[in-house]
Structure formats: structure tokens, C-alpha cells
């Protein structure tokens, strides 16, 4: 599902990151600059993709031998208005690329493009999203796929965590903040549902590898391992606040995703044989180390 135009890695002439100030954007830039790749990071302050002149502004930044990473989005997409805004943003990107074609495009999508599946998800799983957020990414994937002629890699990350995550979603990031504040970690139900959590530096690394190989196709960004939210809470407490508490609450509705959402990651193993995901223990330990260093 993903193939490399360059079998051996080769630094692109320059990488333009649209959404460079985002959680994923910062770690993408870090992974690239560590390899000596020239990066032009653009945020909404540089190019507002909802502005009427967005396409012209973005195209003015693009050069023919650039690689463009598209991360910018209003996420999570929660309503029809945000869906419309997100597609408008992608329309601006597509118009910019029509005006100023580049050598390679990497679009950061989401595993939300897949509906809940009884089977482990892989890149061949149909994209029939149940959420507006997933629908938004499917639409944007289709928009970019049908707008460019250069190689396109679409990466679909699962749940992300890291020390500098600005979001406070249910999971490792919120649990860690609660633990650091000495508050109990409150679980939905008993925290039984099991999900695949990816350490943010691995996302940056895989985006960088895709750029260096000028990869094209689709690849999920998931570790292939699932952990329950209860297990994650225990691990976070052990690292951040060993005396902290976990509280369970009566579940109000059915478990999200039927309580289980796992991935088969052989496409990643084949595409990047020497890449290793940080397992949950390793990733959480790095977060703990980074938050300790910065506190």
C-alpha cells in the first residue's frame, strides 16, 4: 500500500510544513532538522487557509522541488460547519498546488477514516467513517489525491501522546496532567476499552522517513499493540504519582469503538524495516522524563 520512489533515503531539497506549530508539525520539523533537512514551517499566522487569498499566499512559498506536508486542520471536526471549514482549507491547498506544483506531498490524515471493525484494521480496510472527523479526512484525502500529479503519501495516525501535546483528550496526556496535579484519574466505566496509542516522536520519525524515501500510498501510523485505559492510568500513576488514585465511573453509554480497536502494522514493517515504535512503557517513560526536565 506504500512504496518508495527512493529505495535509499535521500534528503529532500526542502520540506514545507503547513501546520508547523501543531503537535505533529513540531515533531515533524524536529525529525527533519535532526537530519539536516531544510524546513519551512508555516502556521496559520503565515498562511490562513480560510482566507480568500490563502492559495496565492501558500503558492508563493512553494518551489518545484519542495516536499509539502499538510497537517493543518480544525480538529477534532465536531460539526457540519467545521467539516465545511476543513474542506475549504484543503481546497486552498489544492489551489496552491495547482498554481505551484511540488515534488512530493505528505498528507497527515487520521485512523478515524475507518469505522469500527471486528477485525484488526489495516490499510485495506474500507474507509467508511462513522464520525464527522473521519468523514472530513476521507474528503480531504480525496481532494488532494485528485488534485496533484506528484507522489502522495497519506499517513493515518491512531491516538497520539507526548509531553507537549496541547490537547487534553481522554488518555495518556490527560491522565498525566491529572496525576501531576495530584488529582485522581477518572475513567469511563472501568477503563476497559483497549486502543492503540502512538508516541509523538514516532509520528515525526515516520513522516520524515516518508519524505526521505519520497513514499507514495497509504500507511497507518499505529504500534500494533493495544492497551486498556485502565492499564495506561496505572502506568501513568506509577511514573508520575505512585500514590495517586484511579476512579471508575458508571458508563453512560456503549464503549467507544466497541471497546477494541487494533491495527495490523505489517505495511509499516515492510516499508520501514528498521523503524521501531516505542512501546507504551518506553513512550510514557520518555514523557515523564521530558515533563520532569521542563518543570
Amino acid at each position: 500500500m506504500i512504496e518508495h520512489m527512493y529505495a535509499a533515503p535521500e534528503n529532500p531539497a526542502r520540506v514545507v510544513i503547513m501546520g508547523a506549530t501543531s503537535f505533529v508539525g513540531r515533531h515533524t520539523e524536529a525529525a527533519l532538522t535532526a537530519r539536516g533537512v531544510e524546513v519551512l514551517g508555516l502556521g496559520s499566522a503565515d498562511v490562513d487557509l480560510l482566507a480568500t487569498d490563502a492559495a496565492q499566499k501558500l503558492s508563493a512559498h512553494l518551489q518545484p522541488d519542495d516536499a509539502l506536508v499538510i497537517i493543518s486542520a480544525i480538529a477534532p471536526c465536531k460539526n457540519a460547519n467545521e467539516l465545511a471549514l476543513n474542506t475549504r482549507m484543503m481546497a486552498s491547498v489544492c489551489d496552491a498546488l495547482a498554481e505551484s506544483p511540488v515534488a512530493h506531498v505528505v498528507y497527515i490524515s487520521s485512523d478515524a477514516v475507518y469505522d469500527d471493525e471486528a477485525n484488526p484494521i489495516d490499510e485495506g480496510t474500507p474507509t467508511t467513517p462513522a464520525s464527522l472527523h473521519g468523514l472530513m479526512h476521507v474528503a480531504r484525502e480525496g481532494m488532494i489525491r485528485n488534485s496533484i500529479n506528484c507522489p502522495l503519501a497519506i499517513l493515518r495516525p491512531s491516538l497520539l501522546y507526548g509531553a507537549d501535546d496541547p490537547h487534553n483528550g481522554y488518555g495518556p496526556n490527560r491522565f498525566r496532567r491529572l496525576a501531576d496535579d495530584g488529582q485522581p484519574i477518572v475513567l469511563f466505566g472501568k477503563g476497559e476499552e483497549r486502543r492503540d496509542h502512538v508516541y509523538i516522536e514516532d509520528v515525526g520519525e515516520l513522516i520524515a522517513l516518508s519524505l526521505l524515501h519520497r513514499s507514495q500510498g497509504v500507511m497507518n501510523v499505529a504500534t500494533g499493540q493495544v492497551a486498556s485505559f485502565h492499564d495506561i492510568a496505572e502506568k501513568v500513576l506509577a511514573l508520575h504519582h505512585p500514590d495517586g488514585a484511579i476512579e471508575t465511573t458508571p458508563r453512560q453509554g456503549p464503549m467507544p469503538h466497541g471497546g477494541f480497536r487494533s491495527f495490523v502494522i505489517s505495511e509499516c514493517q515492510k516499508a520501514f524495516p528498521t523503524f521501531r515504535y516505542a512501546d507504551l512503557d518506553t513512550g510514557l517513560a520518555r514523557v515523564q522524563q521530558q515533563t520532569t526536565e521542563t518543570s
Binding site: G124, G224, V264, S266, Q269, K270, P273, T274, R276
Partner: protein
């Protein structure tokens, strides 16, 4: 030489034609082996075979006086029955290339006597034989059920012979009927399209069994059950049967089954039939192919970045030279950055041309200093490997042996971490927690 027995010709000297011709000679028939490739015929005349198949060489030698190899199409004039029997190659999507069989069929029509019976033996889709009917010619389709590695046995002792006929109610031509009677099994004439679909149906049923076994074997690995304990119990069930394909594997390979899945999906679409179950078999197969790679990524590479991997077996199954869709070959390809060491007793080195691998001269030389061993083809000679000797030679202690070529308990006793299909080598309570 005159004989009351019909003279049988085979056009196309690849796996199917060659094994079928050997069976014809063994049954006592004067047999003509034609192929337009003069160089191939030259090699066959001196006993150099293009395929690896148990007993094939011995049978051809035994009946050398009864077998004529020729690249002269006019020789087919002397045959009473001419089988058109080249292997039909497929691409990566299971799509067939009929160029060779159509060319051979044209030659047979042009050169065989008008009284001769022509039979398509190659694997073709429904409608193919009827489309290629020539005026004033008797053209039949006969289902082949050869198995790579057991082709001679299957050609000699078919369970039944399925014959596609333009008119199933009409008697078979005498010469053809006499020849088929030599196989002493039920003859099942039916309409051409039925026979062509029967071949595909057989393979679909086999794939269904294999896919079921694969799925249940994967569950066994997760819950501490052992598929090798369950499968014999199923075979005693008359509705399943003692010969049922219940061995879990690394996905379908070899080309023929993949071709039939592709064909049945195409046919289903044309007939507006629901083929989602067939597509699911394909997905199951593709996922199982990566089982060994997943084990190495889970148990070897996290501990050693530059692990040295030894891969034993490149053929897609034992007793064949074929590497078509071989899981072993795919694994070697995906391990390229690790420069794996490979060994196969039959597959020639050109199968791995262009791959960054080291070829060992024997299994034991291959495993020397290896961190992990993957046994990808259940060749007999690998069953003789002594786990303790392997442990002494290897640097690491991981064996991935999908087909249980080695005794898992012996491997664990020798200090190995042992992984096989359909069984977790951990205790059941540990397996559930993995």
C-alpha cells in the same frame, strides 16, 4: 510401431504437460511430448527437467522408449488424442496470460489429424474452451487436479476425471474413452462451462478450508489452544473428512489458487453474485503471509537492531522449485536491510537475484551465528535438524517455525523461544494475557 492403444500427445512441456505425459507413459501409452521450444526439448531428451517433482525423472527414464520428445508440431499428426497442456502463467493479481495456450491450441488444430480428439488440460476460465472450438474438430476440456510436489501421484491416480463436453450426452470418442479408462476412476462428463467452473470450485473449497484453519489457528495462538489437537478431531467428522485441508499456513501461494480467486470474483461480478467471502479469503491470505515478519518484529528486532536472520526455504511449499507468491521469498525481500542468510535445497540462486542476501551452502552453515531462524518451507531435510545443534551454532534463541517442522518441545528444551502456527508455546494462562 503399431499398437491397439491410442497414441497420446501433450503440447506444452511445463509442469502440467510433463507430469501428465509421464503418467500417460506409465499407463502404457505411446506418448508424444511436443513443445515449440527446441532448446527445452533438447534438455528434456537428455533428462534435464525444468521442474522439481518427486518421481518425475525416474518415470520419464523408465519409459524413455515409450516417450518421444519433439519440437516438430507435425508430429502431432500421429496422435489419436492431443492434450493442450501448458502451464498458464499469472501476474501478481492472479490474472492469467493465455498467449501460450492459444498459440499451442492453434498448432494442435493445424497439425493433429482431423480424426484426433483435442483436449484442453490447462486451467482456463469458463467459456474459454467453447470460444476456441474449431470447425469440424472435437474439442474437450478436462479438469487437472495436480498438486505441486505430488503431481505424479495425482496424475496417475485421480479420484475422478471431469470432462467438459460440447454435448455431455454424446459418447466420448473411442480413443479418448479408452485412454481415460486406464485411470480406473469415475468419469464425469458435463457441459464445458460446468467442467471449467468445477476446477475453480474445487480450489475455492480448498481455500475456504485453509482460510478457516488459518483463522482458528490464529485464535489458538491467542488463547492457549492447540490447532494440531483440534484438526484431527475435525477430520473424523464425516462432513469434513480425513483429507480436508486443515493445515494452517502462510497464505495461499503457487499461483493457481490465487488465479481462481481472481477468476471467481470476476465471474461473480458479471453474474451479480455476492463474492465478499471470496474477497475475505484473499485478505486472510495476505495477512497470514506476514505472520513470520510480525513475529520477528515482535520478538527479535526490539532486542537487536541489526539482528542476523537465517531463512530456510524459499520454495512456496516442499518438493517443488516454484517460488510463485512464496512467503519465504517475500520474507527475504522484507528483511533486505538485515542481509538475511538463506538456504533452499532446490530453488536456484537466480530466484533471489538482486536481493541483498547471503546464500548458505547448507542449513547448518546458514544458521551459524544467526540471532533468529525462520523455517519457511517444510522440506524433509529440515525435519532432521537437531535443536541442540542449532542452539550451539546460533547466537540468538528465536525459532519461527510456522509449519512445525521441528519439535517445539525439543526446541524449548534446547533453550529456544519457539513460535509456530496454531499454538502458543506459552502456558494457556500466559497466552491469554499476551
Amino acid at each position: 510401431m503399431t499398437t491397439s492403444l491410442p497414441r497420446i500427445g501433450f503440447a506444452g512441456m511445463t509442469h502440467l504437460g510433463l507430469n501428465s505425459a509421464a503418467a500417460s507413459a506409465e499407463k502404457g501409452f505411446e506418448t508424444l511430448c511436443f513443445d515449440p521450444d527446441a532448446a527445452l526439448i533438447g534438455r528434456l531428451r537428455v533428462g534435464v527437467l525444468p521442474v522439481e517433482e518427486p518421481d518425475l525423472g525416474a518415470l520419464l527414464t523408465k519409459h524413455a522408449g515409450r516417450i518421444e520428445f519433439t519440437s516438430d508440431a507435425a508430429a502431432m499428426q500421429r496422435c489419436d488424442v492431443v492434450y493442450v497442456a501448458p502451464d498458464v502463467p499469472t501476474d501478481d493479481h492472479g490474472e492469467s496470460d493465455f498467449t501460450a495456450i492459444e498459440a499451442l491450441l492453434q498448432l494442435a488444430v493445424a497439425h493433429a489429424a482431423t480424426s484426433a480428439t483435442l483436449v484442453v488440460l490447462s486451467q482456463v476460465p469458463p467459456g474459454f474452451t467453447r470460444r476456441h472450438m474449431a470447425p469440424s474438430r472435437q474439442l474437450f476440456y478436462q479438469v487437472e487436479t495436480l498438486i505441486f510436489g505430488r503431481a505424479v501421484e495425482r496424475a496417475l491416480f485421480p479420484e475422478r476425471i471431469i470432462i467438459g463436453c460440447a454435448d455431455p450426452k454424446a459418447a466420448l470418442p473411442d480413443a479418448y474413452h479408452n485412454y481415460l479408462n486406464a485411470f480406473d476412476c469415475p468419469l464425469l462428463p458435463m457441459r464445458l462451462e460446468s467442467a471449467e467452473l468445477a476446477k475453480i470450485s474445487i480450489n475455492c473449497c480448498l481455500v475456504a478450508s485453509i482460510s478457516t484453519a488459518n483463522t482458528l489457528a490464529a485464535i489458538c495462538e491467542g488463547i492457549g489452544a492447540d490447532w494440531s489437537e483440534i484438526a484431527p478431531a475435525l477430520k473424523l467428522d464425516k462432513r469434513i473428512g480425513e483429507h480436508a485441508y486443515l493445515k494452517p499456513g502462510l497464505g495461499i501461494a503457487g499461483g493457481n489458487l490465487e488465479r481462481d480467486l481472481h477468476t471467481v470474483i470476476e465471474l461473480g461480478r458479471a453474474a451479480a453474485a455476492d463474492v465478499s467471502v471470496v474477497e475475505a479469503w484473499g485478505r486472510n491470505s495476505r495477512r497470514r503471509r506476514d505472520w513470520v515478519l510480525g513475529k520477528l518484529h515482535a520478538h527479535v528486532f526490539p532486542k537487536k537492531d541489526k539482528a542476523r536472520i537465517c531463512v530456510l526455504g524459499l520454495a512456496y511449499k516442499e518438493n517443488t522449485h516454484s517460488t510463485k507468491n512464496s512467503p519465504g521469498l517475500a520474507l527475504v525481500h522484507h528483511l533486505a536491510p538485515f542481509q538475511p542468510v538463506v538456504y533452499d535445497p532446490v530453488v536456484p540462486p537466480d530466484a533471489i537475484d538482486g536481493m541483498d542476501v547471503r546464500v548458505a551452502a547448507s542449513a547448518m552453515l546458514g544458521v551459524k551465528n544467526a540471532d533468529a531462524l525462520a523455517i519457511m518451507t517444510p522440506w524433509d531435510e529440515f525435519t532432521l535438524l537437531d535443536p541442540q545443534a542449532l542452539r550451539n551454532e546460533m547466537a540468538g534463541n528465536v525459532i519461527v517455525d510456522p509449519y512445525a517442522v521441528l519439535d517445539g518441545a525439543d526446541c524449548i528444551s534446547a533453550g529456544f523461544q519457539y513460535h509456530t502456527l496454531g499454538k502458543s508455546m506459552s502456558r494457556p494462562d500466559e497466552a491469554r494475557n499476551q
